[in-house]
Every structure is written in structure tokens, then in C-alpha cells.
Symmetry: C2
Subunit: 352 residues, 2 copies
């Protein structure tokens, strides 16, 4: 079993893998090309993966056989394991716990070569539906505080296989970045009695950083974007849990994700990127709640899409200060043009 | 001029570069090989760089001519500029300031091909001496709060040129990671009235994470190392400012750096790495001081050496949780063997 250890100087956690255990997250090769006939995620190779946890499949097809549209499996080389009791302990001034959690892979399409931007909106809907269902299911486990949904595209973004897939990782802790967002959002609430995310949306909608909007969602270039063309997608109405999303909102999210990933691809070519869902933790952050305010009042889930065109240097590692050669307002001008093209293609029925 | 913008959700800063301004930190190519005859850092090419700020050179040599051992120049593509007044302003809920700072390059050797691990200890001493003198000089500028010293080796670590060099970047803010260390160290002080770094050293010296020690310094594998073979070097006695280091301590630091970079190279081959100096800020962190305790009591400067063998995935970007396949205690076993070999070679006079 893996071990989680906490750094006493940053309160950041590291997962140390079991000995001789190849991880799907660590040691990423530079070249991840693989022909479909060798791909464990391709239809017909279902037996090369652990048995599926959930799948969207045609009525007559059988589990762990072809006929699926989206298929979720446990990662064979999971960084955290579901079996066992969570056990926390100290070692002098250090803190650690055993590697309890879950680590699943959502195989997003039977098509080995398909980019997310090439999915139809209804195919993206299926993927998002699967995210929601897996998160809901995993959060029933009282040991878990957070479920991280993320997608790595390309070797530079940490992907290990080219076949389109996402990761669902259930954690016994709230991730450091989410805790930081909560702490800042709590400070903002204390000063203003408003959600900081709602304030950001109010300030940025119809501003020079607004790139796309539909009934339920807005895509913005963040004011202090870390990477060129970094794009965040927010629900326009206050909503704290991603997994509370309705079917109708899921359709709307599929629409804006299709447009956004396609616009980014048209602007950046085949650039690697990470897609990360940030949502409120379900347990364990009581210190940021009072009689008068709950986390639900001031946390606001969102999706961060981070293109990985820049290499981090010692300056970023040392300081946490990013160097970004592209102003978000400049990125927005370029992206809005792509969004307009895409909109026209939808209207002409060239995209679905 | 570049712009600094602060993210309201993390309080992390991003430096946005001037338009059409190539940065030496951003957009790193995968291949940074360059023949000496085209290298602006090589002797004989001094006129291809801006005039030198400082140099260690032979008595009869002239500035901006060959004859130097270590040479510091302003970066032609500086991310921050020294000219102008610091001006802070808001934009609705956002915070920003103009890109005042300094960005210098320490060319560490006339030898284009030399790795830091191949420097003699007296050559490393010269480089460290230059670090100290540049930091001291820059901190005289009342606009600056922090000077970041770092070294990028290899394209994956963000280096853009193969010629051995370091960066010295003066900042009008305290870097986020240093602020976090200060906040945690302050909490520790409030509970224990002790320096958390001193407590770490006390717990880890002669433990299974201790890899090398000399008169003044200790090299440890951190308990929650983010990367395989990550190694930190601490002054054994409490000292808050790197730039307060004495000449004698500099010799001791050169000794442990020589041993550590050589041991890491023998273990990891030609792996890319970042070397980062963390030191106390000189101004601006008064909120972490009281009548009873100053920053100097609980901050402890140190050097972090971070091998860059792993690619960060969406999981790391989303959560701040690292996945490390090598336990620090395992890394320490391997490194101690290398340190023993190196020690023997010093005793035989094979290394200097």
C-alpha cells in the first residue's frame, strides 16, 4: 500500500508508491504513441483491464465486452487503494497516513484516436455524466473527503496513453489547492458576505477576458493566468458541488466544453493540456464554517483547463510565481475569433 | 514593462511579459544544445551580452573582456526591470503592480561544457560568493523584498542555454512558497517557541534521511519529498538570511554542494534539476512578527535541489499532491553509497 506524507513547511502531501509498483501518474515517457492493437483501452481488449466499475453501453452488450461508449475501470497501478482502514499516525513532528482512496480511469470513447474536441456534444455529455455518477458513488464512502476529476492530454501534461481517458481519484484529504481556494474565499466572505467566485464572474462577464457563454456556463481567461490560454469554466449560478449538476446543466456544460476544447485546439494546435475539476470537499473543512456561514455559501465549483506549453523553471518552483508571455486579454481576442468560427459551424450543421 | 498580477483565489502572482518580448524563463525548447562558438556566455563573446555588473577576473583583465572566472550580467530579456517606480493598483477585486525588479545571470564558468558537479570546490566557492554579493547589493534597493537565486540545469528544468549559469531575480514581493513556509514556521513558533527548521534538522540528523554532513551544513532527503532524490541543504546552526553567510561557511557550503551535485549525478545520470535558495524576506512580512518574536527567530534559509525526472500531471496541478515513486529513505540509501565513494575519492586526491 502507498503512503501519504505531509510536508511540515507547506502542509502539502506527497503520495509515496508501493515498492516496485509502476504508477500511471509518475515517470511519464516523452513518447506515448501506441497502436490500437496494443492498447488496453480499445474495444476487444476489455480483458486486459480490471473488470469495469460502470459503463454506458448498448442494450444487448455484456459487461467487459465491446459495445460500450464510456467505460470506467479501476487503475491497475492505482496510487491509492480502496481496501483497508484509514490509519493516521505521526513520526516526531511529521504526519502521515496510509494510501486509502480510489483511482479509476474513465475510458471516454472506443475510438483510440479521438480528441475530446472531436467528440460530439452528446458524447461529451456521456463522459460528464460518468464523472458525476462516479463522484457521487465514491463520496458515499465516509473515508473520502474529495474526489479529484482530471484529464491529461499529451505526454507533457502527464498522460501515459494516447487513448482518450480521464482520471477519477478519491482522496482521504482535501487537496492543498482546494483548501487554499477555500481559505481565500472564506476571507472574502468575511469581508463582503459574497462568494468570491460569483464576484469574479460578475466582474469578468462581458469584459475583455470573457470568451464564451451559454445558458448555464461562462468561460473566462483568468486575470492572473499561470499559462498562456489558460481557461476556466464556471457555472454562472452559484453551485458548490460539481456532483449536484442537473442533467440539463450537464448538456450545457458539454456544449461549452466542446466549444472551448475545439477553440483551444484551433489556437494552440496539438498542445498538451490538463483539465481539472475543482469542487467543494464533502467533509473535513469545518474550520472554515461558522454558525452563520457554510462552505456551500462561498465555494463555487469550476473547471480549469491549463495548456502545458511552458516548462516550469527553478524560478516557478522556488517562488510559485509564474511567467506568462501571453496576457489573458490577448489570448481572449484570439480565442473569441475561434469561438465565432465554431459558432458559425454549429449553425451550419458542420459540428454536433 | 512587464506586469505582475495576483490571483484572488490563491494569492499567487504571475508576471506577464511585455509584448513581443522573448523571455529567458518562458517557452523553453526541448533541445538547448548550442556550440560554444554561438554561445553568448563563452569567453570572447562578452560583447554579445549587456555590460557586466560584477565579475571575478584575473588582475590584468578588463571588464567585458575574457579573463573572468565568474561573470554577472543583466538578462537581456529580463522578466522584471530595474528602471522606474513601483506602482501598485487595483482593477475591481484584482491586484496588480508594474514589473519592477532585477533579473541577472551569473555565468558560472568560462567552460561551456562544465557541469556544476565537475567544478572544484574553490570554483563553486566563487559562484556562491557571487550569489551572496549580488543578493546583498540588490537588497539595498528599498523597493525589493526578496532576491531569488536559482539554477536550472537541463531543458526539462527550464534552462535555455547549456552554458553553466544561475539566475538572480530581485522581487518587489515575497514569493508565495516562502510566505507559506513563514506562515507554517510562525504557527510552529507559536506552539513550541522553536524554529521548525531546527526541529527538522534535530529529528532527521543521523536518521535514515540524512545523506551528508560537514562542519556547517547538512544534506537531507525531505520526509515528504515531491520528487525522487529531492535533497535539501540546511545550515546546521540557525541562520535566517542566506546573505549573512560567512566566507568560512561559504567554503563549507561549496564542499557540501560539490558532494551533493556529484552524488545526484552519479545516481541519476544527466537528469535535469533545479537548485533553489530559500531565504528570509527583508521587508514586508510584518504580520508574522510580534513584539516577542521576529522572523529571524523562526525562519531558516536552505537550498532545495529538485531533480526533474517526473512530469507533472493534472492530478498534481489540480490537487498540489505529488506522486513520488521513490521513498526518501530508499533514495538516501542509494545516495549515501555515492557520498561514500566521493569521500574516498577526495581522500585519494582524485577530487578537489
Amino acid at each position: 500500500m502507498s503512503i501519504l506524507r505531509r510536508d511540515p513547511l507547506s502542509y502539502g502531501w506527497t503520495i509515496f508508491l508501493e515498492e516496485d509498483f509502476p504508477s500511471s501518474l509518475a515517470q511519464c515517457p516523452n513518447d506515448i504513441s501506441l497502436p490500437p492493437e496494443k492498447c488496453p483501452f480499445c474495444p476487444g481488449h476489455e480483458e486486459e483491464t480490471p473488470p469495469e466499475i460502470a459503463a454506458l453501453r448498448s442494450p444487448n452488450s455484456k459487461p467487459n465486452r465491446p459495445g460500450w461508449r464510456v467505460r470506467t475501470i479501476p487503475d491497475r497501478n492505482a496510487v491509492l487503494r480502496i481496501e483497508g482502514q484509514l490509519s493516521k499516525r505521526g513520526e516526531g513532528l511529521y504526519d502521515m497516513m496510509n494510501g486509502i482512496g480510489a483511482h479509476e480511469i474513465v475510458i471516454e470513447s472506443p475510438d483510440h484516436y479521438r480528441h475530446l474536441s472531436q467528440f460530439s456534444r452528446s458524447e461529451i455529455y456521456d463522459v460528464l455524466w460518468m464523472y458525476r455518477e462516479r463522484v457521487k458513488d465514491l463520496l458515499n464512502d465516509q473515508r473520502f473527503r474529495y474526489v479529484q476529476v482530471c484529464r491529461n492530454y499529451g505526454a507533457r501534461a502527464g498522460a501515459r496513453l494516447p487513448h482518450p481517458h480521464s482520471l477519477i481519484i478519491a482522496l482521504p484529504i482535501t487537496p492543498r489547492w482546494v483548501r487554499e481556494e477555500i481559505a481565500r474565499a472564506y476571507e472574502h466572505w468575511q469581508m463582503k458576505e459574497r462568494c468570491v467566485f460569483c464576484d469574479i464572474i460578475a466582474q469578468d462577464e462581458q469584459s475583455s477576458r470573457d470568451v464564451c457563454v451559454n445558458a448555464d456556463f461562462i468561460a473566462l481567461e483568468p486575470f492572473a493566468a499561470r499559462m498562456p490560454y489558460e481557461t476556466w469554466i464556471y457555472p454562472r449560478e452559484h453551485q458548490w458541488y460539481f456532483h449536484d449538476i442537473t442533467d440539463e446543466q450537464l448538456q450545457s456544460l458539454a456544449d461549452i466544453l466542446k466549444r472551448t476544447t475545439l477553440a483551444l485546439e484551433r489556437q494552440l494546435g496539438d498542445a498538451a493540456y490538463n483539465l481539472i475539476v475543482h469542487t467543494a470537499p464533502v467533509r473535513g473543512e469545518r474550520q472554515y464554517e461558522t454558525e452563520h456561514v457554510k462552505l456551500s455559501a462561498y465555494y463555487h465549483w469550476h473547471i480549469e483547463i491549463i495548456p502545458r506549453t511552458e516548462e516550469l523553471s527553478g524560478f516557478e518552483y522556488g517562488t510559485g510565481i509564474y511567467v506568462n508571455p501571453v496576457l489573458p486579454e490577448k489570448a481572449a481576442i484570439a480565442l473569441r475569433q475561434k469561438f465565432d468560427e465554431i459558432d458559425a459551424e454549429f449553425q451550419q450543421g458542420l459540428l454536433s
